[in-house]
Symmetry: C2
Amino acid sequence: MRIDGLQYANWSENIFRQMREGGVDAVHVTIAYHENFRETVLNFERWNRWLEQYPDLIMKGLNAADIDRARDSGRTAIFFGFQNPSPIEDDIGLVEIVHTLGARFMQLTYNNQSLLATGCYEEEDSGITRMGRQVIKEMNRVGLVIDMSHSGDRSTIEAAELSERPIAITHANPHDWQPALRNKPHEVIEAVTRRGGMLGFSLYPHHLKDKSDCTLESFCHMIAETGARYGFEHIGIGSDLCQDQPDSVVEWMRVGRWSKEIDYGEGSASAPGFPPMPTWFQDNRDFINIERGLGNAGLSAEQVAGVMGGNWYRFFAENFGARS
Amino acid sequence: MRIDGLQYANWSENIFRQMREGGVDAVHVTIAYHENFRETVLNFERWNRWLEQYPDLIMKGLNAADIDRARDSGRTAIFFGFQNPSPIEDDIGLVEIVHTLGARFMQLTYNNQSLLATGCYEEEDSGITRMGRQVIKEMNRVGLVIDMSHSGDRSTIEAAELSERPIAITHANPHDWQPALRNKPHEVIEAVTRRGGMLGFSLYPHHLKDKSDCTLESFCHMIAETGARYGFEHIGIGSDLCQDQPDSVVEWMRVGRWSKEIDYGEGSASAPGFPPMPTWFQDNRDFINIERGLGNAGLSAEQVAGVMGGNWYRFFAENFGARS
């Protein structure tokens, strides 16, 4: 089973076909970075059209059983998520509404301070806000998973502690392997995984050792070490694949409409665009390389199966429904 | 000249007539607590209808000269403001749009953390955010005054420092007179007034010593002391008059739509509603009591005139236009 914990591609029939060629059973796709509620509904609509157009390639995923249905019919289950709480605006009632529409993950912040928590690009992290505490309770109630990939460290640890259900970092790597602002230090990974949460390893070059030149061996060795340290059942892949996106999209991801000045984020004035992906992970057909690499890095067959999809499957099964 | 730095009444012809009886030349009225942009536009529309219905009592105020026009024609100039940045949502471009529509004050927070700064009810105050820095620049550029009445202390001091134009605390009192969460400690008043900013004294009972039983003498003595300490040119009145509002409104002011649980704010479970106003300040006809009280507290005629309206007039004249 192969499940990708996060992608934000410029979706097309070509990419959906590559998912099938790559044997990808489920993908958590981002449908909001800066969109407000109404704009997010437009993105749900766009996916409804793709689901209608390509019923032989993709299907909507709402719970883990949908992954089984997708596998049985040779399709990829698409799960929706937000990298920002912007879709719920300032309205706690929208948490249940977006879950009903199909959202299954929501980051509490995207780089900046939100109404709920602090993003990893702010100078200071004051933790979970008053509204954040209320929203975490509501997300727990309906089964909308808290994702802290782009949050500050303190906010992430507090979210893990306050949440009564496991949380996720869908796409990031350990900070001690590659000291990127977006990668996570030990205390953060520990706080999340100790409570049953998941870490999805990112293939976005800024999160990789040696960036675009990162070797498959280094990536898989890092996974082996992380599994040994935090438990192989708490890790998966969250590729952060942004396939076929023009550079204008990464600019929009960084500044949305909150600034009149450009902010280069993980890029720079001289290299503002998307960085090239590693040669061994260009698109959805390359998960086989990681699978083999993990075997070569010494993981057991069972551990490899868990990292490639089994762990996300179990996490989806336990966390996408109303609390029982 | 009499200018009130903040009111949020349940507006009616009756109240507009009381403004005229009380000789009130200008009022800064709140038109947003939790409203998003579209909802705020509805509130501009509602005022447009009142302005159309009562042209002999009120007129729209956009700059200080409008106060002169109002006085000359026996009317009250109405200036619009927001107690929350919710009207600009996550969009810096809306700063100029709301200024064009007539907004002249905007609080960077209303009690809670916002996208811009920290509210006074949060446990921790991390100061001005990344978006907050950008928005302060834009507010400075177009002439939308930063109001920190409901903000945390650190955020207020940082806003005063970051802003290149004077800022305001339109409605609050010194914390050492009445230690309410909403009242301001020395460092905050100092940071604001030292840079040409204004403090408007609140008559909302939770901000008064002995609350609803506060005496006129105590209130005026506090003003005399504050003027002596920070300069009589930096103080005015911001009554926070919420005349004729039902208690459902104060509940909405406190929880908006960010919480499913009730939060009593400055009230309590046993006294959740609006507190009764002091006997000597029931409505717009009672400014004369304060004016006399200030004379009795030892202020000079010039100082009284400044506090009752002259200081706000000068502040409006200098801060409501594009930067020259």
